[in-house]
């Protein structure tokens, strides 16, 4: 069962994960992995 009292920390760490994935996508993956203009 989910503990509703600490939803704030979950929000933060899920956002952190999303941000990290976003930057991996933007800086490395976007336009196809390994693509190098």
């Amino acid at each position: 069962m989910t503990n509703k009292s600490n939803w704030g920390s979950k929000l933060f760490f899920v956002t952190l994960l999303v941000v990290l994935v976003f930057f991996w996508w933007l800086l490395i993956y976007s336009g196809g992995a390994g693509h190098h203009g």
Binding site: S5, N6, W7, G8, S9, L11, F12, T15, L16, V19, F22, F23, L26, L27, S30, G31, G32, H35, H36, G37
Partner: protein
């Protein structure tokens, strides 16, 4: 025409882009009507020149070659357009670096404060943001002015850039709005979201603020790296051939992203350190002095910690520059621009000396610092010798008589110190010994109690000795007694040796500090002299950024976009070094004037006027109201 590339929405955006982008930036600086009118006119001209219906316009616009402006196509304003754009762009970059970097370490400090339940961290983080907030408005002002200057003074170049980057520039404008929104909520919501889950919401907002800020940084970086090493276009004509990802992801993009990201943090730390020093010197009470002493220490810690890995990012960037174009790399590090690397050496050594000096004086805060005082003179000797080797030029301009006396173009004794292997040895030893100062500072307020402390110390000393020997051996042997391939490769060994010292130092200390007995630290009991080291740091950092930014940009020589779009303006040459020195110094001084203004504004917001007296009697504020 390539039908796959046509997209109606993209077509509309491309037409509207210049107007929307400049209007968006103009709105933020209160210049909306005039900017929007000018930009709309520009957009119409672009559409007219393309002609026809939407589909044809789109493909034609993309397949158009890069413009070849004549000298007369550059508007004359009676002074050097390059000088105007140079100063404005540099100011925008300074302030941009500051406002993007400060929230990064503010978030970390806020998180530490929250997890340790120590309000001092939270208050300090909030105060750092106050400096950043004032700087943000100035960043936007210079950004708007820069966009105006570029569109007015380099219209063909900007037409080409907007054609190449298309709606990506609109994304930048949207991100700018998001950044503003999040920044204001983050700063003004600080006390409303202070405890429990609300604090986590505040931290999440800070995280999003940094994500948006860093995205802004990398988007803007793609414009700079495209100008240096264009991709996603036909190299012969400059016509767009690739997607926006191919254009953005040129060979220099990620090296520059990393270099600027780290450098911004070091720069931001140095500037807020100067703020703390300013407040420390102006403090009236011991409590205030203690607070700002601690704030200055934290800022210096951030600046130097971010500064230590910076040379590695710099090496990566320059390696990619060489890989892209040897000519460009040699111009930077072996041609006329190489002279400026000697100035770079002076500035970096100033940073290292100031940072180390601040740490040494800081050891006076605790009685435990006495134990390590004897080591300082040896560290100082290494730093000064490293400084001298690093600033030794390979050759200088001699008179005939001087060459005759020397017996050649190089000094017989000092000549070998002028090339990279000697400088690499100096740089890495200086970094290793700066880390030693850090390590001693961290140990100064503790008595280590673990049973294996002698073994731990012996291991640490052994690591230092082996690393220094490795740095010297790799530099001397591979640098002077083998061929060039090994010479370049030897720097990898030196980087690895330095990294081993830093990483193992942190790990060994972390384990040794378990159960350590803390010694009292007297915050505020530091000399005023040490605060001037905190002032020296941002001055040297600012100068360094202006100098190295100029070198990076100047590597394009007479090209707006390297080997694709020629610069035909009256300024299409590398200026004399004296001009460079004057321009870089002017930008630095101007920035420092603005920084003093920001400190004054931040101080002003804490100042309350005493209510006026009536009939010679003091009237409390409540009664006066």
């Amino acid at each position: 025409m390539n039908p796959l590339r046509y997209h109606p929405v993209r077509s509309i955006w491309r037409r509207l882009l210049p107007a929307v982008m400049v209007a968006a930036i103009g709105l933020s600086v209160g210049e909306f009507p005039s900017v929007a009118a000018a930009a709309s006119q520009g957009a119409e001209q672009q559409v007219t020149s393309v002609g026809g219906d939407g589909v044809k316009n789109e493909s034609r616009a993309l397949s158009l070659p890069a413009p070849k402006p004549k000298r007369s196509d550059y508007p004359s304003i009676g002074t050097s357009s390059r000088a105007v754009v140079w100063i404005i762009a540099q100011m925008h970059l300074f302030f941009g670096a500051l406002v993007l970097a400060v929230p990064i370490f503010v978030l970390v400090i806020e998180l530490i404060g929250f997890k340790t339940d120590d309000d001092r961290y939270d208050d300090m983080a909030h105060e750092f943001m106050k400096v950043s907030l004032t700087a943000y408005a100035i960043t936007a002002l210079f950004g708007g002015t820069l966009a105006l200057c570029l569109f007015l003074l380099y219209p063909d170049f900007m037409t080409y850039m907007t054609r190449v980057f298309g709606s990506q520039m609109l994304v930048y404008a949207v991100l700018f709005f998001l950044e503003s929104l999040l920044l204001y909520i983050y700063y003004y919501g600080w006390n409303a979201l202070r405890y429990g889950n609300r604090k986590w919401v505040h931290l999440t907002l800070g995280l999003l603020l940094n994500a948006v800020g860093t995205t802004l940084l990398v988007v803007a970086n793609s414009w700079s790296t495209f100008m240096m090493a264009p991709s996603g276009i036909d190299p012969a004509t400059g016509a767009v051939t690739g997607s926006i990802w191919e254009i953005m992801k040129g060979p220099l993009w990620n090296p520059l992203n990393l270099h600027r990201f780290i450098a911004n943090i070091a720069f931001g730390g140095a500037v807020v350190g100067a703020y703390a020093a300013f407040k420390f010197l102006a403090a009236k009470t011991p409590a205030e002095k203690a607070h700002y002493d601690w704030m200055g220490y934290t800022s210096n810690f951030i600046a130097i910690l971010a500064f230590l890995p910076l040379p590695f990012a710099g090496y990566w960037l320059m390696a990619e520059v060489y890989a892209y174009s040897q000519q460009m790399g040699i111009l930077a590090m072996g041609g006329i621009l190489a002279w400026l690397f000697v100035i770079q050496a002076v500035l970096i050594c100033t940073i290292l000396l100031a940072g180390n000096y601040y740490l040494w004086t800081g050891m006076a805060r605790t009685e435990g610092g006495e134990r390590y005082r004897w080591l300082i003179k040896y560290i100082a000797v290494v730093l000064v010798l490293g400084f001298l080797v690093w600033v030794t030029p390979h050759n200088i301009i001699y008179t005939g008589g001087e060459v005759a006396r020397l017996g050649g173009g190089n000094h017989p004794v000092l000549g070998p110190l002028g090339i990279m292997p000697a400088k690499n040895i100096a740089v890495f030893l200086m970094l290793i010994f700066t880390f030693l100062s850090f390590q001693l500072y961290r140990r100064a307020d503790k008595v280590i109690t673990v049973a294996w402390q002698n073994w731990g110390n012996a291991l640490m000393v052994a690591i230092y000795i082996v690393a220094c020997a490795n740095v010297i051996f790799a530099g001397v042997y591979y640098g002077y007694f083998t061929n060039t391939v090994y010479k370049v490769g030897s720097s990898v060994l030196q980087v690895a040796s330095t990294a081993v010292v830093i990483v193992s130092g942190v790990v060994i200390d972390t384990l040794m500090f378990k159960g350590a007995k803390p010694l009292p630290v007297y915050w505020g009991k530091v000399s005023d002299r040490s605060q001037y080291a905190l002032f020296a740091l941002p001055v040297a950092f600012t100068w360094l950024m202006a100098l190295m930014g100029y070198i990076r940009s100047s590597m394009r020589t007479h090209w707006h976009v390297y080997a694709v779009m020629k610069d035909n303006s009256p300024d299409n040459f590398i200026p004399p070094l004296q001009t460079v020195g004057n321009m870089v110094t002017a930008a630095t001084l101007l920035f420092l004037v603005f920084v003093i203004f920001i400190f004054w504004i931040a101080n002003l917001s804490d100042t309350k006027q005493v209510p006026p007296a009536t009939d010679g009697k003091f009237v409390p504020a409540e009664s006066a109201a």
